[in-house]
């Protein structure tokens, strides 16, 4: 048992050690710029969208699934928010509609996966295209300008009132991260997610309503994706049907760097969020030091492979 505890501690600390390494590395290379309060605040704000997506993705990945449609779903959400605002809806209404559009995509994914019994990878590869197409159709294939509202302040770099210190989006990420971290670890639905991801046959043998649980998990993930879309709108202040293209891969990368297993049964929200921070600080640090973009991409890709390889060897022992 002490050994098991050690392994699980290592697993949860691994991403944190990685984050520290990144901070120390760039902190020593470019201390003035990298460690400046303003810069850290910017990076945290940049983490919000991937971070919210990663919370939802962790639920799906722990249950043995995957969701490739989140980038498209984020774009659709920005369009929905912008259109509701443009058509005279209140910011609150626009926000709720944007979040719900994400939940709808999630329910669609869950329903297709469980009813048609098609692998999540394939289903969401399909909805990735379908949802992107819907977003473009709803937007009339162009950006949608929206009247100014407080929604644009969610991702501001200098929040007011000043005692907030960081943008409301960052606070939302922290609060939701803590809440859903507890849901995954300590709630019944979280326990079910681990069970299905660890051994779906056991879940069936124990009489769990596996299909309905999966739909709920994808819906939950969709809800958080919709929220990420709202933040994306706040950042752009327009609805953009081409926004967040390929962002699903960053979100999945964050979850994987956080130590979740794509074969299911392993993962935690905090670790996924640390994974998102590693990616954000790494990109920021590289920019400040002047590492060219292509080198950054090679670096991030290499880190993903190394993290998974380390995790594998840790589990072998």
């Amino acid at each position: 048992m002490p050994e098991n505890r050690l392994v699980s501690t290592l697993r949860s600390l691994g991403p944190l050690v990685g984050l520290l390494l990144v901070l120390v590395l760039f902190g020593s290379l470019e201390p003035e710029k990298f460690l400046a309060f303003q810069n850290i605040r910017t990076v945290l704000t940049q983490t919000v969208i991937v971070g919210l997506g990663a919370i939802g993705m962790t639920f799906v990945v722990v249950s043995g699934g995957i969701d490739l449609s989140v980038g498209s779903s984020i774009a659709l959400s920005t369009i929905v928010v912008a259109r509701v605002l443009r058509d005279g809806g209140s910011p609150w209404l626009a926000a709720v509609c944007g979040v719900l559009s994400g939940a709808c995509v999630g329910i669609l994914n869950g329903a297709l996966i469980t009813r048609l019994k098609i692998a999540p990878f394939i289903v969401t590869l399909g909805t990735l295209q379908i949802v992107r197409g819907i977003a473009k159709y709803v937007a009339g294939e162009q950006k949608i300008d929206a009247p100014a509202s407080w929604l644009a302040d969610l991702m501001t770099k200098s929040p007011s009132p000043a005692w907030l210190i960081v943008s409301p989006g960052v606070w939302a990420l922290v609060v939701l991260g803590v809440f859903f971290g507890a849901v995954l670890k300590k709630s019944v639905i979280g326990t079910y997610a681990f069970a299905i991801g660890s051994n779906e046959s056991t879940a069936v043998l124990c009489g769990l309503p596996v299909s309905s649980i999966k739909i709920r998990l994808y819906a939950l993930s969709g809800l958080l994706t919709g929220l990420a879309g709202l933040m994306q709108f706040s950042r752009l202040t327009v609805g953009d049907p081409t926004a967040a293209t390929g962002l699903e891969l960053n979100i999945i990368a964050a979850v994987v760097i956080g130590g979740a297993s794509l074969s299911g049964g392993v993962g935690s929200i905090t670790s996924s969020l640390v994974g998102a921070l590693v990616m954000a600080f790494l990109a920021n640090g590289c920019n400040l030091v002047g590492v060219p973009n292509y080198a950054q991409e090679i670096l991030v890709g290499g880190i993903i492979v190394i993290v998974v390889a380390m995790d594998r060897s840790r589990r072998m022992t």
């Binding site: 300590k186 019944v188 660890s198 051994n199 046959s201 056991t202 043998l205 009489g207």
Partner: protein
């Protein structure tokens, strides 16, 4: 057929142990060219181990093998094939999306500039298909579209293309129709006439009489008899397989029955069971025995709602299940099941004992959708202590426990759920002898406390000692229920092996 035929395969004093268990101990046998030799034994007698040694999948601890008089010590299955020894497995290793011809030439394609020369293999392939009497089979047919019987022949054809001189056939008719079986018998005999030596494994006496001339009986890893099929009766063979009647180890009373808890009548599933009926009383341990593949597992799974009910009824008390009712309806009415496949189905090996224990009833440790850690630990500790589960903590992953302790966790799930009816599929499989005794004691205690237990098992002495009553399943059908004291190993085996390839109406 003649006595002057050369000895093709010779096995001398082969032994093989796995840890402390001796799977085969000093087995010797000779098979001539042109001979079909039946290898007979109960489940676990050592047949599979011997065949794995022959086909190169396992290395023997001691002993020597000869093929055509030359020492034969294959380093692996492909090496064995090169030496002319081929195993025809129960599960066929064919690529369903490729054609007959592609399957047959797989791994021995002749190519030029990277392109397969299709025509180069054609004459050989036609020749082999002709030898098997299936020359009319179109080589462009997709293997996936063929019947089980035809697939089996393709598998044999592949062995012949490798120049097989010794063929090992393990229960080759287990998934074949009667007519496909008959064709296979003819082909087997024809191949023997051409000079092959065939080792033929089957549980069915009439099938063995049809194809084999000679036999060897294995029991507990040793040869207990051999000779010519024509010199021995079925009864003598079964006696050899079972050995002396085993003393009943327990003085368990069969009279402590209560009211009827589970009633299954004329139950049929997709393939198995076929019209199975049984009644299970409170306090009773009813055992189902039969050969591997007789449909015992399917019976439990159909009763439990994991497989669809096609006809017949399953009732608990006054409640009858509909065919659309799922597993959750069984748990709700107090039926629980332990799977034969702990790794693949029974347990979540990388999750803690506690999660595995409460999964069928998470609400018992939850308040408003949140798990109460203290309730979870308390419930888990209770079962860890009362079943003496050896684990370092409640958070230890189940995969870190020994097989016997894993099985206790699987059983504890049913006890935690407080079911009345326990369906146990091979509850003592893959665990050491002492844990087996512990599990059986636990089963008896549960029955004494008023649970009803339906248990499927393969080890006959264990089942005779542990159960109150036994039924034999044979090709999906259940025989008569008799008190365990009314059965012997011998009589169980006779009933289990009674059928031929036929399905009696």
């Amino acid at each position: 057929m003649t006595s002057t035929a050369p000895i093709r395969l010779s096995i001398e004093g082969v032994t093989k142990s796995f840890g402390a268990t001796q799977a085969i101990r000093g087995v010797s046998l000779n098979i001539n060219a042109g001979e079909v030799h039946a290898l007979i034994g109960e489940n676990g007698a050592g047949k599979s181990t011997l065949m794995k040694v022959l086909s190169g999948a396992l290395q023997p601890d001691s002993g020597t093998l000869f093929v055509d008089g030359e020492t034969y010590s294959p380093r692996g299955p492909s090496d064995a094939r090169r030496r002319g020894v081929a195993m025809i497995y129960q599960e066929l290793n064919l690529a369903p999306h490729l054609t007959v011809e592609q399957n047959l030439s797989l791994g021995r394609e002749q190519s030029q500039f990277g392109f397969v020369l299709r025509d180069a293999m054609r004459p050989q392939i036609y020749d082999v298909l002709r030898r098997l009497g299936i020359a009319d089979l179109e080589p462009d047919t997709l293997v996936g579209s063929l019947s089980q019987g035809a697939k089996q022949l393709i598998e044999i054809a592949r062995a012949l293309l490798d120049g097989a001189k010794v063929l090992i056939m393990d229960e080759p008719t287990s998934s074949l129709s009667r007519s496909d079986s008959l064709r296979l018998f003819e082909i087997t005999k024809a191949l023997a006439r051409e000079g092959c030596a065939v080792v033929y494994i089957s549980h069915f006496m009439d099938e063995l009489r049809e194809v084999a001339e000679s036999y060897t009986v294995l029991r507990d890893g040793a040869t207990v008899g051999s000779g010519l099929m024509k010199d021995v009766t079925d009864n003598e063979l079964v006696t050899l397989m079972a050995g002396r009647p085993v003393e009943r180890a327990s003085s368990h009373l069969a009279e402590n029955r209560g009211e009827e808890l589970l009633c299954v009548s004329d139950l049929s599933g997709e393939r198995f069971p076929q019209g199975a009926s049984l009644v299970l009383h409170r306090g009773e341990i009813l055992g189902i025995v039969g050969l591997v593949g007789a449909g015992r597992t399917e019976l439990l799974r159909t009763v439990f709602g994991l497989e669809r009910i096609r006809a017949g009824t399953v009732r608990v008390g006054a409640h009858g299940f509909r065919s659309s009712d799922g597993v959750d309806s069984r748990w709700k009415l107090g039926i629980g099941m332990v799977s034969e496949d702990r790794k693949g189905e029974g347990l979540m090996l990388d999750l803690p004992i506690s999660n595995n224990l409460v999964l069928s009833r998470v609400d018992s440790v939850a308040v408003n959708g949140w798990i109460s850690r203290s309730a979870l630990v308390e419930k888990t500790m209770k079962w860890i202590q009362s079943l003496d589960i050896r684990a370092s903590s409640v958070d230890a992953p189940v995969g870190s426990l020994s097989g016997g302790n894993q099985q206790k966790v699987a059983l504890a799930r049913l006890l935690h759920h407080d079911v009345d009816v326990l369906l146990l599929d091979e509850p003592t499989r893959g665990i050491d002898v002492r844990s087996k005794a512990t599990i059986w004691n636990l089963i008896r205690d549960l029955a004494a406390s008023g649970k009803a237990i339906l248990v499927v098992g393969s080890h006959l002495p264990e089942m005779l000692a542990g159960c109150d009553a036994l039924m034999v399943m044979q090709r999906g059908r259940l025989g008569e229920k008799k008190a365990a004291s009314a059965w012997t190993e011998h009589s169980l085996l006779v009933e289990a092996t009674a059928g031929s390839g036929d399905i009696h109406a």
